[in-house]
Amino acid sequence: MAMAIRSLLIFLCIQSIAVPTFSLYEDQAGLMDWHQKYIGKVKHAVFQTQKTGRKRVLVSTEENVIASLDLRHGEIFWRHVLGTDDAIDGIDIAMGKYLITLSSEGSILRAWNLPDGQMWWESFLQGPSYSKSFLFVPLQFITQYLPKSPSIATSSKVDKDNTILVFGKGSLHAVSSIHGDIVWKVDFPDESFEVQEVIQHHDSNIIYVVGFVGSSQFDVYQINAKNGELLKHDSAAFDGGFSGEVSLVSKAKLVVLDAARSTLLTISFQKGEISFQKTYISDLVKGFSGMAMILPSKLTGLFAVKTITATTFISMSSVGQLEVVDKINHATVISDALSFSEDRQAFALVQHGDSDIHLNVKQNHDWSSDLLKERIKLNQQRGFVHRVFMNNYVRTDKSHGFRALIVMEDHSLLLLQQGEIVWSREDGLASIIGVTTSELPVEKEGVSVAKVEQNLFEWLKEHMLKVKGALMLASAEDLAAIQGMGLRSSEKSKMTRDHNGFRKLLIVLTKSGKLFALHTGDGRIVWSLLLNSLRQSEACENPTGINVYQWQVPHHHAMDENPSVLVVGRCKPSSDALGIFSFVDTYTGKELKSFGLDHSIAQVIQLPFTDSTEQHLHLLIDTSGQAHLYPRTPEAVAIFQLEFSNIYWYSVEADNGVIKGHGLKSNCDGEVANNYCFGAREVWSIVFPLETEKIITTITRKSNEVVHTQAKVVADQDVMYKYISKNLLFVATVSPKASGDIGSATPEESHLVVYVVDTVTGRILHRMNHHGSQGPVHAVF
């Protein structure tokens, strides 16, 4: 009893002493040097350009972001980042005031308020099976495509148009757009039925749902739009099979490719009869060979077929006659059709020139004439156009104007209007895969005033503005300009090195293969470069970047030599693909050289040695466990041989729960044998029991991290110590049950074990068990 009281007293004492502080100081809240928001590569875009109110474009992206952008300036009105497993399948506007999003493979439907982005309702759709998902908002069809028709607001129309049709999880749902309730639901008799198109005509209550069962059966369902009653079901089989995309060319005609991708198949399904009509592509396109692909588009009476050499536009007459209207050899992207008056439809076609892009807007039925023909010069390399979305507006003289939103290869978003880029967003920065830093240039003495201020006129103008500001004559715009100038010339955002090394360039590699240099002072983009070596080419079909490393950091020749970074990539997303090297000057932003490697890349190890030109030695481990030394010079090998026996590396295999340590052996054998390739031997291994522990995090000290004082407190209250061996590895494991999200396991079945491992000897120096704890783990060494 006494013991219990004593322990309780001690506990109370400790409680009263320990004041938990998980908060910021008052003056720290919301304080940051700079903050930038990005959305990622745009997947879908819907314009909302009513006469009244703000003009905006609603977008969904590959980073699972939905956002509302200002159409005038490209700024974000609001933005929501959905979870990583909540990919967006489709977006649309319903009733002119909600943004409808379908996500998570067609199982979550949400409505967001357009002006402020608040969620209006959320609806979970259940179905028997996984399937392709599909969002269809009939109201959109009418209001946007016929914006000036006054007869639309009849009560019966509104009644009908308030439902949204969603195909997901194998069944078709009609959802009320007012409150998200499911009005009716149709389960199709055949479970493997895959919807390709949902068609509803303006004046009827019948919904046509067309799709495939398996690879060779075509089905059409007619459904009553009011109650979801299955009115009719027709089915027909085709021996050749179907493949890929479908292009709906008229109300009752589809074009699809056969399984061999060499024959076009026109399917008519009006009035309960299904008929197939075969056309060989080689009859239409001369010299066709190989595989074709139908470009997904929604044009009436026209579709596009892409072959290896060219994109061919084929029109279909009302009787189903196919005719080639044009053939374009460049890379081409087309938009969906846009109805801009009662019966006229247009679409945008974007082609590439050398350093410019050609935007043509054509009418569906008239290929020969262009509604709009523009040539837009790009001021920097942005790669090919990947997607184009089109919108129209009415000019003051009642003629129709068009604007196009284009998504480039570097994931940037550009709005084109009247032959100019109205705004551009560098949304590649939403998907950063690697960051390193680079020192800024050393301030050279004897730089004249004029050089710093670019030219005399600018300099005079700035001083005039400053005088205006001092005399209180400045307008709001002037004040903003003065403020901007102050920021630019302030100590923080200078383009030169400071004494303490706080100002740096952040070299950022994005998923699109574009490299950015950001200034740490204000976050501005100093330069950007779309790396040619990380673009699609004959040698590399689908290259991806891996990371960016400091390659050359001149100290002795800091005045006259520029630092450079090494960008490492691989040809395909698979781990055994061959590697790519690219070297970029960090001051000028130019690619110095690039080459492909003859081995794969599993690890990149930056060694702490430099050669006489101050290039860092790098050791690359391939998937077969062999080590390759770079740069490939005899000098580098000589330096490396001196430290040969002191170099180790370790590999973490989270799936097997093994950490292995490796040392170097003599030169490697096999066909890749050369002076720069070394074999490996296993030195140690730590095996974690798979049934109780799963590796979730490993952290080591950064090799370029410098801590001078005994202990340094970093911004997020972590402490870094001066005397911790750089060869130590922090490993955190959790029980396999608790490896999911927070809340997925009860405290009883979750535990977290942390280890400190010496990676040279493989000895576990410390181990600690935390019962009832769960990941994710972030650590600082």
């Binding site: 060694l607 590396w649 590999s651 001078h708």
Partner: protein, 180 residues
């Protein structure tokens, strides 16, 4: 000494015998009994005392050497214990290392006291003292060496100046998850 007196002073009150025949046993009439050696009898007082003193000095010197060499055994034992303790910093190795440091220091402080019983004008204590000091210094060196292997000696400039980076490790090891 008493024995000599008893032999010579028997019968008479006093007598002076000027002839000393003790040194020449052959001149005597009666031979010595077998097993009797006159030599010991013939030593005078001072000689005996001297002999005694010599023996004692010998013994002292011998003892002093023993004491001087004693730390050697200690050294061996310490070495064995250090080897057992290993090179990681924990309670046991720290304790052993500090005892290994403290013992020689304590011994060096008490050099005079240790050799006091063996102080003698005839015994040269300098060499044993030097040996004793040398062995203890050896023990101290062993302790410092152990301290160094534990990494506790401030041997690098960075240990004294906080703005300098720590010494680079000989081994270099890096790695992690395979790059995806």
């Amino acid at each position: 000494m008493d024995k000599g007196k008893a032999v010579m002073g028997s019968g008479r009150r006093w007598a002076v015998d000027f002839t000393d025949n003790s040194t020449l046993p052959s001149s005597r009439d009666i031979p010595d009994p077998p097993g009797f050696s006159r030599a010991s009898q013939e030593q005078d007082d001072s000689a005996v005392a001297k002999q005694k003193k010599d023996a004692e000095a010998n013994w002292k010197a011998q003892k002093a050497w023993e004491v001087a060499q004693a730390p050697f055994k200690n050294l061996l034992m310490m070495g064995f214990m250090m080897w057992m303790a290993g090179n990681t910093v924990h309670l046991f190795s720290i304790g052993i290392t500090f005892s290994a440091l403290w013992q020689p220091i304590g011994a060096l402080q008490g050099v005079g006291k240790v050799f006091e019983p063996y102080k003698d004008s005839k015994v040269d204590l300098l060499v044993p003292k030097l040996v004793f000091i040398a062995l203890n210094l050896g023990g101290l060196a062993l302790g410092i060496w152990k301290l160094n292997t534990l990494g506790l000696l401030p041997t690098h400039a960075s240990d004294w100046v906080s703005s300098l980076p720590p010494a680079k490790e000989v081994e270099y090891s890096r790695g992690g998850f395979p790059l995806l």
